[in-house]
């Protein structure tokens, strides 16, 4: 792992190798350590270190980009030369703007050193806790514990210089019956590995597995649903690309108005729906700059049900007379995408369940894909625990179902939000999300999967 000093010196050294007046360098050093387990035993564990030096050079609007992981001087000089050769061949980019100069980046919460350094001695006891609990209950555990440590230094010849270091961790586990007839899941992402509670996760996943046994077939259709926080995050985070100002102005998002214009300032959602990104929230390790290398900042995308902001990159801001903003994710548009938060309330999950006369309690979703990029309609399936709610009580396990719904309609149909926490979906999406109750959630078919 490079140090801060080494990364910054490396960025400046590489910049010095370029003869171009417009040169931008990004240096990343990233460590990963993890342990996988399945069938109540460890199946793989690894430690890896990767470097990346990305060089972008521009002359007369023509840009070449080359990235390498070889930190040897000769290799870095060759990488710069390659980027310059590409720039000499590339046609000019008419959307390119002048490089940004020196910036004052916000101080993000400090990363947790213990998380950054964790290795097998810190991880394996968590695996043992889960496997022991599963074996005790005659169940079968699988899962992953991992931590990452990453530092980035950026610099350009216009005076820009930035540095950031972060660490993150997660533990997820799937507990199944020995005959494969039931499955339960629990997971916890945490910026502090010391806060991972493997005993609680083991209990949750084991309990869910035992409670979900012999699920009942129900009729597909529209249901009132209670989504646990991970399930909420699985769908809501996919709203991001809809806030692109450019795509919206071009008539290609759910926020485009028919005939032209956009829905900024309109109340589309209930007043208890507020969607923000907050890179200063210590719970969600983020980066202090946007994809345009401008300082990031908190943003309110939906404020009490009203569309509060659109995401402007520098180019589109310059074309429309707006100020550039952080992005919302979904299109690689910057820091906002790493720190999305849907506001919750003090209401417990039990109180949400108690408010439902007939509906379904959903643990989380799987294999979610966009069906229509404009309306943001998605499809995917429930997984690892779905339960029937009758008269405010969980009464029976039910078989998995496929859903066909957009985050936009889900938020419009939300009638209650519960307590929020940081969640990580199976396919990697991170956000702070609450449990919620939503009506008319389309579940058009049954799945036999366990």
């Amino acid at each position: 792992m490079l140090t801060k000093d080494e990364a910054q010196k490396l960025a400046n050294k590489v910049m010095g190798y370029s003869t171009f007046a417009d040169c931008q360098v990004s240096v990343t050093s990233a460590e990963q350590a993890y342990t996988r387990f399945a069938n109540n035993g460890i199946t793989a564990a690894a430690f890896s270190l990767r470097h990346d030096v990305s060089i972008a050079v521009t002359r007369d609007g023509c840009t070449g980009v080359y990235a390498a992981d070889d930190l040897d001087d000769a290799a870095l000089r060759a990488a710069v030369k390659k980027a310059e050769e590409f720039a000499a061949i590339a046609p000019p980019n008419p959307e390119r703007l002048e490089p940004v100069g020196a910036q004052k980046f916000p101080d993000l919460p400090a990363f947790d050193d213990r998380t950054a350094k964790a290795r097998a001695p810190e991880m394996i006891p968590h695996v043992k806790t889960i496997v022991d609990e599963a074996v005790k209950r005659k169940l079968v555990a699988a899962g992953l514990i991992e931590r990452t440590h990453r530092l980035s230094a950026i610099a350009n010849k216009a005076g820009l210089a930035g540095f950031h270091e972060s660490a993150d961790s997660q533990l997820t586990t799937t507990i199944r019956m020995e005959d494969g007839s039931s499955s339960g899941w629990a997971g916890q992402p945490s910026a502090r590995i010391s806060e991972i509670d493997s005993a609680a996760l083991a209990n949750t996943a084991c309990d869910k597995c035992l409670r979900w046994k012999n699920p009942r077939r129900i009729e597909p259709g529209n249901y009132t649903v209670v989504l646990e926080p991970t399930a909420t995050g699985d769908i809501v985070r996919l709203i991001g690309s809809g806030f692109s100002a450019r795509s919206t102005d071009e008539g290609r998002t759910f926020l485009s108005k028919r005939g032209g214009g956009n829905l900024l300032g309109e109340k589309l959602f209930p007043e208890y729906i507020s969607l923000r990104s907050d890179p200063l929230d210590w719970r969600q390790p983020s980066v202090p700059w946007t994809s345009d290398l401008l300082p990031t900042r908190p943003m309110a995308w939906i404020e009490k049900g009203v569309v509060g902001s659109l995401a402007y990159d520098r180019y589109w801001a310059s074309k429309t007379g707006k100020q550039p903003t952080p992005g919302l994710g979904g299109g690689g548009s910057g820091a906002g995408g790493l720190s999305l938060e849907l506001d919750g309330s003090d209401a417990t999950l039990d109180s949400l369940i108690a408010s439902v006369e007939r509906g379904l309690l959903i643990t989380h979703f799987w294999y979610i894909r966009a069906v229509n990029p404009q309306t943001l309609q998605q499809t995917g399936l429930t997984r690892d625990g779905v339960f029937l709610i009758e008269n405010g009580k969980v009464t029976a396990p039910v078989m998995n179902l496929r859903f066909l719904e957009s985050p936009v309609r889900l938020l419009k149909n939300t009638v209650k939000v519960g307590q929020a926490k940081r969640v990580r979906g199976l396919e990697g999406g991170l956000m702070v999300a609450p449990s919620l109750v939503a009506t008319d959630f389309p579940l058009p078919s049954i799945s036999d999967a366990v």
């Binding site: 069938n39 460890i42 990767r50 061949i89 008419p94 294999y367 496929r402």
Partner: protein
């Protein structure tokens, strides 16, 4: 060996004319790991030294805001990565460590790290790792090619993409177009304590064309794509992609798509074209026949499978369906000389006339099954990642010589022909799936009609393949590739090919989407 072997990657992987054995410098580096593992009494060790290169070239044509001009935004980027990973078995458990610093000293240090990890892993073990035997190969293998795509001048690539993107944009109703080419080169050296010493060069080319049309008054945005066969090949393959010809086709079809009426949902017969069905095969046949899923090793993420050890010998599809797995077909993305266990690749039957016969396996999995040898399906996506079971190319064999797509269409009263990839989703045991497509045509009274839109079909995998009642002959068989196959934790990405002829399915549940 120089202090920084990384700076010498070109020399390390260079192939002297006619050479059939690995570079001696690579063999010396590999030996450093194997010798170090011997000191720790590891029962097995392998090392992969890998240099990856990716080149991404593109042209996006978009209207400039407030003018009538079209702006052409280019992309010219390349990245490279060089490093090694060492895998050991100690006390019956795997250990793995990797580093981007390719020197003998670092290889020895990292081998020691892998041993420490293996010893720690052995503390919680469900069963000790055993491997089936493998012949010790000392070979060099390359993707057959005439011209290394990385040697082709960048200007030539940019000119090609600019011209086809402009071809798409010639219809004024096309809002925007994007043309891209991605090139991948993987130099890989593998050595093991069982005597393997294998050097390979894998070259891959991916191309794509996208067109978008927007009706602002109606609030509709639609697209049409052309994705040629993604291939393991040299640059000589690029003209066969027929980018210019297909640019003209999709610019008209995207406009037609914009006003195409939505489908009327219900049970319908489907004709699925090879560039669509390849993904259905990928998700509903190739993934469920991965043995690690069936054994529970992927339970926490990718999932398990509806196919179990007990399914061998049972019917899972109609008699029209014979699927083979291979890693040897020309130009297929999964084709290599040897897998990451050092096993020479081959072809094997997965489903024979609807009856499930064989799982995909690695050396470790073959030992679990009691098989004598592996099917050669071990792969890692980089030097920094752990090899595990990945799918081979999986093909649906064509139907009889004289069956044409028109014959299949003629037998449909109410159906849909689906072309290209759309959205796709399948459950964690590969039962319930939903697929969209890139373009759809109505079939009425045995004839193909006009374009329709907003189509998706949902089915249960065994029911769907049992509903297959015909596939066109060998003349219509095509192979396509997919480049983003995700599996494992942390997730690894794989590129793989699937092939088939246009195929008919009866009475599938069709939905209307947004």
């Amino acid at each position: 060996m120089a202090a920084t072997a990384a700076a010498m990657a070109d020399q390390l992987f260079a192939a002297p004319e006619g050479s059939k054995t690995p570079s001696s410098d690579l063999e010396k580096l590999g030996a450093a790991a194997l010798a170090e593992a011997g000191k720790y009494k590891a029962s097995y060790c392998d090392i992969r030294i890998v240099r990856l290169r990716n080149q991404r070239i593109g042209t996006r044509l978009s209207p400039e805001r407030g003018t009538n001009r079209t702006l052409a935004v280019p992309t010219v980027a390349e990245d490279s990565s060089f490093g090694f990973g060492v895998r050991v078995i100690v006390n019956g458990a795997w250990g793995f460590a990797s580093s981007p610093l390719v020197t003998k000293e670092e290889i020895a240090r990292i081998t020691g790290e892998a041993v420490v990890i293996a010893k720690a892993n052995a503390s919680i073990q469900s069963r000790p790792v055993r491997l089936v035997p493998v012949k010790a190969y000392r070979e060099r293998w390359e993707t057959p090619h005439e011209t290394d795509p990385f040697d082709v001048p960048m200007a030539q690539k940019l000119d090609l993409l600019r011209s086809v993107a402009e071809e798409v944009k010639k219809n004024s109703r096309v809002f925007g177009s994007v043309a891209t080419l991605s090139l991948r080169s993987e130099d890989k050296y593998f050595a093991s304590t069982e005597g393997a010493s294998i050097q390979q060069l894998i070259l891959q080319i991916y191309g794509n064309l996208d067109a978008t049309a927007v009706d602002v008054q109606k609030g509709i945005s639609r697209s049409r794509s052309y994705t040629p066969t993604q291939a393991s090949a040299g640059w000589e393959y690029v003209p066969e992609m027929n980018l210019a010809e297909n640019a003209m086709r999709i610019r008209e079809e995207v406009v037609e798509h914009l006003s195409a009426p939505p489908v009327k949902p219900g049970k319908k017969d489907l004709i699925l074209m090879p560039n669509h069905l390849m993904l259905t095969i990928h998700e509903s046949v190739a993934h469920p026949t991965e043995l690690d899923r069936s054994l529970g090793y992927e339970a926490n993420y990718a999932g398990t499978s509806y196919i179990t050890l007990k399914t061998r010998g049972e019917r899972i599809a109609s008699e029209h369906c014979t699927f083979v797995g291979d890693r040897i077909s020309p130009r297929a993305l999964g084709t290599v000389g040897f897998d990451d266990d050092g096993v020479m690749t081959s072809e094997f039957t997965i489903v024979d006339k609807g009856i499930f016969r064989n799982f995909q396996t690695t050396r470790e999995q073959a030992a679990i099954l009691g098989d004598k040898e592996s099917h050669g399906c071990s792969q890692a996506d980089s030097w920094a990642t752990v090899p595990f079971q990945r799918m081979p190319n999986v093909y649906l064999k064509p139907g009889s010589q004289d069956t044409t797509p028109e014959d299949l269409i003629a037998g449909i009263d109410d159906g849909i022909l689906i072309d290209g990839r759309g959205s796709y989703s399948i459950d964690q045991q590969r039962y319930n799936f939903q697929f969209g497509g890139d373009a759809f045509w109505e079939i009425k009274g045995g004839k193909r009609g006009g374009m329709i839109s907003s189509v998706a079909y949902q089915a249960r995998t065994p029911d769907f393949w049992q509903a297959c009642d015909g596939t066109a002959g060998p003349a219509y068989w095509r192979q396509f590739g997919t480049t983003g196959d995700a599996k494992g934790e942390p997730t690894q990405i794989n590129s793989i090919s699937h092939g088939c002829s246009p195929t008919r399915f009866r009475q599938v549940n069709v939905l209307v989407t947004d």
